[in-house]
């Protein structure tokens, strides 16, 4: 895209880039370190790693960040959105300070992962993919963390809980301190 007219800061979302100049600078220096070309077709291969970096920095990928990455790589914003909506790793919704992910891969699934997921939903009163209104928790499902012998498995941020039962759900939640 040759240009984006008046990005401005009209919405809450647009503010994110303006409000976090240090984050923006970090993303910019990362993308600028890539061997990008004038030809969008050659930049396409760098899209996923750029989005990984962007999500790592901003915790999620709002429209303004998607647009920023698209402009840098000379791709269309719609294509960036297409990639984000395809991979469950990426999210365009704000995520909680604590990320709870229930594994619903085959082994966990047959050992009752769905019941665990349902208990988290009930307890936090949110659906899969959502974040609690206080911004503390977000809940998701993922496919296999490679710990099938411990099925069913729940991940709280980077920590793995094995042999999880519905009774353990409140404990896991109480483990989180801000």
């Amino acid at each position: 895209m040759s240009s984006t007219f008046a990005p401005g800061a009209k919405t809450e979302e647009d503010n994110l880039l303006v409000k976090s100049p240090e984050k923006l600078a970090e993303l910019e220096s990362y993308i600028d370190s890539l061997p990008l070309s004038e030809n969008p077709d050659r930049n396409r291969g760098f899209l996923i790693q750029s989005l990984h970096k962007a999500q790592e920095i901003f915790t999620y990928l709002p429209g303004c960040v998607q647009q920023y990455v698209a402009d840098k790589l000379k791709l269309h914003r719609s294509e960036v959105y297409g990639v984000i909506s395809f991979y469950s790793f990426f999210t365009d919704q704000p995520v909680g300070r604590h990320k709870i992910n229930v594994c619903t891969g085959t082994a966990c699934f047959v050992r009752g992962a769905n019941k665990i997921l349902d208990e988290f939903k009930r307890y936090l009163n949110i659906k899969e993919g959502e974040t609690t209104p206080d911004g503390k928790f977000s809940l998701g499902a993922l496919r296999c963390v490679g710990a099938c012998s411990l099925a069913p498995v729940v991940m709280l941020n980077d920590k793995v809980y094995g042999n999880v039962t519905t009774k353990m759900v409140p404990e896991i939640i109480n483990d989180c301190e801000d």
Binding site: S3, R77, S85
Partner: protein, 578 residues
């Protein structure tokens, strides 16, 4: 060269050719659905996603999609083995299991490639039943309707939108059963940088992308006794509408179309060509002024609303470049609701202006705020070539048996310079004809500017206009326009004047034209017809149109006058991209 055998017949193809192309060379038709190619624009879409074109290749465990499998030396291919036939039917069956079976009332009925395929593959009942996608229709724009329930994910529209036009609105989003083609954030089209060129509608093999229809509004208007209903027909409509009535592509059906419009009940049948001549008067005045002063160059044409919207979104910093002249459609509306209304003693509210356009963006253009006075638009209703053909059929008019009629006066008189607006290069050529005469102050006889004709995406020419060397370029297809504008921005190219049309080939391949289903020879015939119509015209220069001369004498004064600016010129708005 590569030698292979298909259905026991040897065939030789160049390296890189696909099995599909090799089979075609042998006169074997392999059914396809997602695959499409437009030879004259060098566009091919081969996503290999539908798997309808699978064939059996000896020694290969899986069936191969022939549209994207290169032919290899010694390959032995069977296109009609029972395995291939069954696989094709299963694929089609699965596609149909998640497709509404409302063919009878579908906009694309009889123009649908999925429907045709079900017939061709002899599929008479759907085996698979299960969940079906349900989405709300996107009715947000004035031009294009998106009905995602019908989308088969062939992604042809993405190629049209992103590769050909580089507009970048449509993308495959989500995955699996939830996958659809949509703008970013699943926005409605009206909240995107869609320019409504309608190339996606032409690309869509099914009824997922269709035009917003205003046929019934036209019937209501015609039947409203209190209104004077006038119709204008764009240059490219007359050379394509015959196709809808099985006339040979490239037939010039102007006279029959005028007769049909009169039979339908329009009070006056006028011609957008008249307004095209008017556009040339204003635009050429501006061209000569800007070239003489060497200011704000290059001047870009502004007839095409898709192109104008593209510029507003994608190149807002170049917004000073287009001519301020309104498009012929909007000039026609403005003159009808001022000059003509006064002449007939009518108020603007008493007149309904209907446009017949080869274009879907014209529907959007007519709704732009600046083209209304006190909420009353200069152009009230816009229908496409296809919609007019539908209405003629509905009215029971047997088109090919009609006698010819003439347009009404005074807004029906036009020249050969106006009709070539329908092809890429035509607007520029028409402007050059007038510019040459005006600069030389005589009647120049050499008026065929061959260098700017033809379907190529970017044409460049240095033309001698009455002793002045003018560097001109002609662009059709927005991807080509983007490439050219970027070269200008980088200082790699300099021109005095550039004509840009959003659709590849110009209006003759507009989003509202009859479907060609990949047969680009039809476009070449349409092109030929346009220049034939120009050759046939008695007057071939816009400024020699007697009704145009009279309009200036009686009403507007001179081209570029205060009155002309008030009625015939406009401005542009920078817009955002999503």
């Amino acid at each position: 060269m590569i030698n292979l055998t298909i259905n026991n017949m040897p065939v030789q193809v160049t390296e890189g050719a696909t099995i599909l192309e090799a089979a075609n060379k042998l006169g074997i038709k392999i059914p396809t659905l997602c695959h499409t190619r437009l030879d004259c624009f060098n566009v091919e879409h081969r996503s290999g996603s539908c798997r309808i074109c699978v064939v059996e290749v000896q020694g290969r465990p899986n069936l191969a999609p022939s549209c994207c499998t290169p032919a290899m030396e010694g390959m032995i291919v069977k296109t009609n083995s029972i395995r291939a036939i069954n696989a094709r039917r299963t694929m089609l069956d699965l596609l149909l299991s998640d497709h509404p079976k409302d063919c009878l009332t579908c906009e694309k009925n009889l123009n649908c490639q999925l429907q045709a395929l079900a017939h061709e593959l002899d599929l008479h009942h759907v085996l698979y039943k299960g969940e079906q996608s349900t989405y709300n229709k996107d009715l947000s724009s004035r031009s294009i309707v998106r009905d995602l329930d019908k989308c088969i994910m062939c992604r042809r529209c993405e190629t049209a939108c992103n590769t050909v036009q580089t507009v970048g609105v449509l993308s495959g989003v989500k995955r699996g059963f939830e996958a659809v083609v949509a703008p970013a954030d699943l926005r409605p089209l009206s909240e995107s940088q869609c320019v409504f060129c309608g190339q996606c509608v032409l690309a869509c093999p099914v009824g997922a992308l269709t035009e917003m229809s205003y046929k019934y509004d036209v019937w209501k208007a015609i039947n409203d006794e209190t209104k004077t209903v006038v119709v204008q027909t764009a240059p490219a409509v007359r050379i394509a509408i015959g196709e809808e009535f099985d006339m040979e592509p490239g037939s010039i059906a102007t006279g029959k179309m005028v007769t049909a419009l009169k039979m339908m009940g329009f009070d006056k049948v006028f011609d957008t060509d008249f307004a095209a001549d008017l556009t040339i008067m204003e635009e050429t005045t501006e061209l000569i002024e800007r070239v003489t002063k060497n200011e704000n160059l290059p001047i870009l044409t502004s007839c095409c609303p898709g192109w104008v919207k593209f510029l507003e979104h994608q190149f807002p910093e170049l917004i000073y470049m287009p001519s301020s002249a309104k498009s012929p459609q909007q000039m026609f509306g403005a003159i009808t609701k001022s000059f003509y209304a006064e002449k007939m003693g009518l108020k603007r509210e008493d007149i309904i202006v209907v446009s017949v356009m080869p274009c879907l963006a014209k529907k959007y253009e007519a709704s732009r705020e600046e083209f209304s006075t006190d909420g009353n638009p200069d152009v009230d209703i816009v229908i496409s070539t296809r919609e007019l053909a539908d209405m003629i059929k509905e009215a029971g008019i047997i088109f090919d048996r009609l006698e010819d009629s003439q347009y009404d006066s005074p807004l029906g008189e036009s020249t050969g310079a106006a009709v070539i607006f329908g092809a890429t290069g035509g607007v520029l050529e028409a402007a050059l004809r007038t510019a040459a005469d005006w600069i030389a102050q005589k009647d120049i006889k050499e008026i065929d500017f061959e260098a700017v004709r033809g379907l190529e995406g970017i044409k460049e020419a240095t033309v001698n206009v009455a002793g002045i060397e003018l560097k001109a370029a002609v662009c059709s297809g927005l991807g080509n326009a983007r490439a050219l504008l970027e070269r200008i921005q980088r200082g790699e190219a300099q021109y005095h004047a550039i004509e840009i049309m959003a659709c590849p080939g110009g209006c003759l391949n507009g989003g509202g034209q009859p479907y060609i289903h990949g047969d680009t020879t039809i476009l070449e015939k349409r092109l030929k017809a346009i220049y034939q119509d120009d050759q046939n015209a008695t007057i071939r220069k816009s400024h020699e149109n007697p009704s145009i001369k009279a309009l200036y004498e009686e009403y507007l004064g001179k081209p570029g006058s205060h009155k002309a600016h008030e009625l015939l010129h406009t401005g542009y708005t920078p817009r955002k991209c999503w």
